[in-house]
């Protein structure tokens, strides 16, 4: 059973940061400390129907965030951007779905229970102290929950990061701590590697535990990384990055309660992910630019991502680009899916961007996505004389397509026009392939009257044709109407009305309320 003991902060989602914010706001004004408290809230109401036609979920969602920032904790002299700088930033989030029934989170309600689901999870998105330009610009650091963004993707951890910037156009960075993992206090699974269904099941009683063996217990994940990047010069930049994350604690390996084979659990330190990435961009203002990147998965021993993009500047208003993207699905090292025959995708594309005027810009292009599939019969690579023959060797199953490169294609067109307080946008796309087609376009616009009254709208028609499930094809019309009021700098209230019309949902409505406040001292 899930015990009644919940995380202290989960019970009091905003109290911790609220207290911190209050302390900062009422702190003695000894120097020019800048404090900022922000709150963003969104409430939305809509229904979801199962794609198989019957289930309907009522979503009654409330998202609330509370952020606190304090800048210039060292009271640097104004006007000197080279002075050491210390700041603090934190943000707490509460994301509730009041439409879910209590049974959904009650393990005793086997009929309705969804392991890992929480009706009102609270997570600390980030909370760190950051120092910049210490030791005459050589040293920077961050302490706390923070993000790292580079060729290895978006990642979050609790720990410390230090960077050494040298005058020799190179910067060395090292960090270590614990990866942010779902199921741990005030954490979200968003930043851990995919392929493992993981969460807090420490409070399940044994009978429940046996029912959901795929739902793995969450444990701390020690991690560290280093990066070397160029700095200073603006026409070229590269970053080489390495990161290793460990899984710890027990993991269920027997998927069936009646399993005869051991071990039922595997326990111990083991690799979760180990990857090396490199990304670079270079530019020649009169000619063009180039970007490229690659990710090598050390655990799998293969390149899992690579990309390259070339831009050619044709005059001052036209940019032509050729893009290439390579991607192979890869997962946490605990996941069985790393060893499934997942094949790479290759994307090639051409696009153009035209700055027609200072107000109007249009971009568009086309692309082809080449999937790979296996074309030859199974061959494990070694003689397995004593191995029980796989049913795959059944003659009827050994048929493979001769074309191992099924192809999808498509294109997109987007435009933006802006003048004063008015913006207009267009976004259209068409994608066509073996799985089906998807074509459509949206137009959107927003105007701010008298610097405070916001009127906006969006309308679009999209058509999709699902080749695998023909009954899911439809043409859908949608419009959104928005009114808002900017009652203070960076503070606004907004209401949105959304209406979808198509043969799958009939008519569906969605109402959203937004409220954002920023208070500064």
């Amino acid at each position: 059973m899930i015990a009644s003991r919940e995380n202290w902060l989960q019970k009091r989602p905003t109290l911790g940061l609220g207290l911190g914010a209050a302390l900062l706001v009422v702190a003695p004004n000894a120097y020019a400390l800048d404090v900022e408290v922000t709150s963003d809230d969104a409430a939305q109401f809509y229904d979801v129907r199962s794609p198989t036609g019957e289930t309907v979920l009522s979503r009654r969602r409330l998202l609330g965030t509370l952020g606190v920032s304090a800048y210039d904790l060292l009271d640097a002299p104004p006007g000197d951007p080279r002075a050491p700088n210390l700041s603090l930033r934190a943000r707490l989030r509460y994301d509730a779905d009041y439409g879910a029934s209590g049974a959904t989170v009650d393990p005793a309600s086997y009929d309705s229970f969804v392991p890992g689901f929480s009706r009102g999870p609270v997570d600390l998105m980030y909370a760190y102290v950051e120092g910049r330009r210490f030791l005459k610009g050589w040293l920077g650091f961050r302490l706390g929950r923070q993000y790292v963004t580079d060729a290895l993707g978006w990642w979050s951890f609790d720990g410390a990061e230090a960077s050494l910037t040298t005058p020799y156009f190179a910067k060395l960075e090292a960090y270590g701590g614990f990866e942010q993992r779902g199921g741990l206090p005030v954490s979200t699974p968003r930043f851990e590697r995919d392929g493992i269904w993981r969460g807090n099941r420490s409070t399940y009683d044994p009978t429940v535990r046996d029912l959901y063996p795929s739902f793995q217990p969450a444990s701390v994940a020690p991690a560290y990384g280093v990066a070397l990047e160029s700095t200073g010069v603006t026409w070229i930049h590269g970053r080489l990055t390495y990161r290793r994350v460990y899984n710890t604690g027990a993991s269920n390996v027997t998927e069936f309660a009646s399993a005869l084979y051991a071990p039922a659990q595997y326990n111990g330190w083991r690799i979760s992910s180990e990857r090396i990435g490199y990304a670079v961009d270079a530019n020649w203002p009169e000619v063009g630019g180039a970007k490229g990147g690659i990710v090598y998965d050390v655990y799998l021993g293969q390149v899992t991502q690579a990309y390259a993009s070339l831009d050619a500047y044709v005059g001052t208003r036209v940019t032509l680009s050729a893009d290439y993207d390579y991607y192979v699905p890869s997962f946490d090292a605990d996941s069985i899916w790393n060893f499934f025959a997942a094949e790479p995708m290759n994307d090639v594309g051409l696009r153009a961007n035209v700055d027609i005027s200072k107000r109007l810009t249009v971009a568009g292009g086309g692309h082809a996505r080449i999937f790979d599939v296996q074309t030859s019969a199974f061959d494990p690579g070694v003689a397995l004389a004593s191995y029980s023959p796989s049913p795959n060797y059944n003659p009827a199953a050994t048929y493979f397509p001769t074309n191992g490169h099924p192809l999808d294609g498509g294109g997109n067109l987007s435009a933006r026009w802006a003048k004063g307080a008015t913006t207009l946008g267009l976004r259209g796309a068409g994608d066509f392939g073996q799985e089906g087609d998807r074509t459509g376009a949206d137009v959107s616009g927003e105007h701010v009257f008298e610097t405070r009254y916001v009127l906006g709208g969006r309308a679009g028609v999209w058509q999709w044709d699902d080749r695998i499930r023909a009954d899911r094809a439809t043409t859908s019309f949608n419009y959104v109407a928005t009114v808002g009021y900017l009652f203070a700098p960076r503070s606004k209230a907004r209401v949105e009305w959304e209406h979808d019309i198509n043969s799958l949902v009939g008519q569906r409505f969605r109402i959203m309320f937004w409220f954002s406040v920023a208070v500064t001292k």
Partner: protein, 447 residues
């Protein structure tokens, strides 16, 4: 006779004017535009970093000006008059702030134009034509009480010290181009950021005199100001926060295409990943984490990415991999959890499951021969789509080795050749399908 004489005089005058004999005449002929006859300023005379054709400096950094003076730099900066930049703009050599007013007072003109601007309320014109108010002040009218139109030169939204640059022996043309060759100097002679980068290429710890490339070396920090929302007015004390200020009444700052290839085009949303992957610190100069998390860890659907009835459209887009779902969503939590609740996942609770079948009929989906539409083909093609709905258990039922599951081998060809490394570093996934202590020869090959 008198009329004929008058006509002859007028005709002669017209011919003389047409022939250019009065090109040096005062009114309306020069000093009203950078080049005579409003010709285009040659690229070589524009500030370094300008392009051809040039679109001028940034609106956000250098707000529009209202120049109500007529002035010809070329006529002043020459051997005859002998003026230099410093003659009129001496204050620039002492200026440490972009808020300083560096256009000379009228008193600077008095010595040559025989005017007297000592008392701005009672300016005395000179005797000559070039000493008259209307000679320089556009739109001046006698009888308006000595009033002239206001010259509006808003401060640049920058941190800038002319004194520091002058101290480094950086001459005026290195930022402003060949102003001495022009008649009227307009906003177009204000610096281009690309020109700044001719020098500003040094990292933070470089010596103090070096030109650093960090954005906040020149750009104002703080996404708000103490003074109000309209931006700084008289000083540079608005240096709060960790991002630079990008919104100004005169315009919004956005990277040019030649800076990290990061022009924010209408399709930038699908291309920004390459900029962020290479240099996320560059993005962080303008964007706080919140800006990124709104989508990448978002809980409210961004319509610019997921349009229309995306709840119903997303399945086909996920299978086509039009967008990489895992850029923002973790399949085994975000996707799986919702799929379980809505009853589409195999691990869904019984009350959520319904009678419908999500996948195509068994004859296509799982029976041989494999072909488009068969689950093996679909998994090879885009495994992420499977992972967004299925748990390990769903796959192990058939793909577990004999004795654990159905024995259908899901591995790639040649898999055994490289599996020992993975087994040594994390054997956990192997034990899910293979008997750890039994006679599984496949597992033995990987030990």
């Amino acid at each position: 006779m008198t009329r004929i004489f008058t006509l002859l005089i007028l005709a002669s005058a017209a011919l003389l004017i047409a022939s250019g004999a009065f090109a040096e005449a005062p009114a309306g002929v020069h000093g009203l535009a950078p080049m005579p006859e409003d010709r285009k300023v040659p690229l070589k005379w524009l500030p370094p970093g300008a392009f051809d054709p040039d679109s001028g400096p940034s609106d956000g950094i250098f707000p529009a000006q209202r120049i109500t003076l007529r002035f010809n730099h070329a006529r002043h900066v020459n051997k005859t008059v002998g003026a230099t930049c410093k003659t009129c703009h001496a204050a620039a050599y002492r200026s440490t702030s972009a808020a300083d007013h560096l256009v000379p007072d009228g008193t600077v003109c008095d010595a040559c134009h025989s005017t007297d601007h000592t008392d701005a309320a009672h300016v005395k014109p000179g005797d000559d034509e070039n000493g008259q108010c209307v000679y320089c002040h556009l739109g001046y009218k006698q009888g308006d009480g000595n009033a002239v139109s206001e010259l509006q030169l808003p401060r640049a939204n920058l941190l800038f010290s002319h004194k520091a640059h002058g101290g480094r022996n950086i001459g005026c043309p290195q930022c402003h181009g060949a102003v001495e060759a022009l008649e009227l100097a307009t906003r177009d002679q204000l610096p281009r950021m690309r020109g700044c980068f001719h020098c500003h290429q040094m990292p933070d710890p470089a010596s103090r005199g070096d030109a650093h490339s960090a954005c906040d070396t020149c750009h104002l920090r703080g996404d708000r100001t103490r003074e109000g929302s309209e931006g700084p007015t008289t000083n540079d004390t608005v240096l709060r926060g960790t991002v630079i200020r990008t919104m100004f009444a005169s315009g919004t700052l956005s990277p040019p295409r030649w800076l990290h290839n990061a022009e924010h085009t209408p399709d930038f949303i699908s291309r920004h990943k390459w900029v962020a992957a290479d240099d996320s610190a560059f993005c962080a100069n303008c964007h706080k984490e919140d800006f990124c998390t709104d989508c990448h860890d978002g809980r409210v659907r961004p319509r610019t990415i997921h349009p229309n009835d995306y709840l119903n459209m997303h399945a086909i887009e996920a299978r086509m991999a039009t967008q990489r779902c895992s850029s923002c969503h973790r399949e085994q939590s975000f996707c799986l959890e919702c799929h379980m609740r809505v009853g589409v996942a195999e691990a869904s609770p019984p009350s959520a499951r319904d009678s419908g079948r999500f996948h195509p009929p068994k004859s296509i989906w799982s029976d041989p021969p494999r072909k488009p539409g068969n689950h093996a083909y679909e998994a090879e093609r885009n495994l992420g789509a499977c992972v967004s709905c299925h748990t390990e258990r769903d796959c192990v039922v058939c793909h577990g080795a004999r004795g654990v599951g159905g024995g259908f081998d899901p591995h790639k060809n040649g898999f055994v050749g490289g599996c020992a490394t993975q087994f040594r570093r994390n054997p956990r996934p192997c034990f899910v399908c293979h008997e750890a202590r039994g006679s599984d020869t496949m597992l033995a090959k990987c030990r």
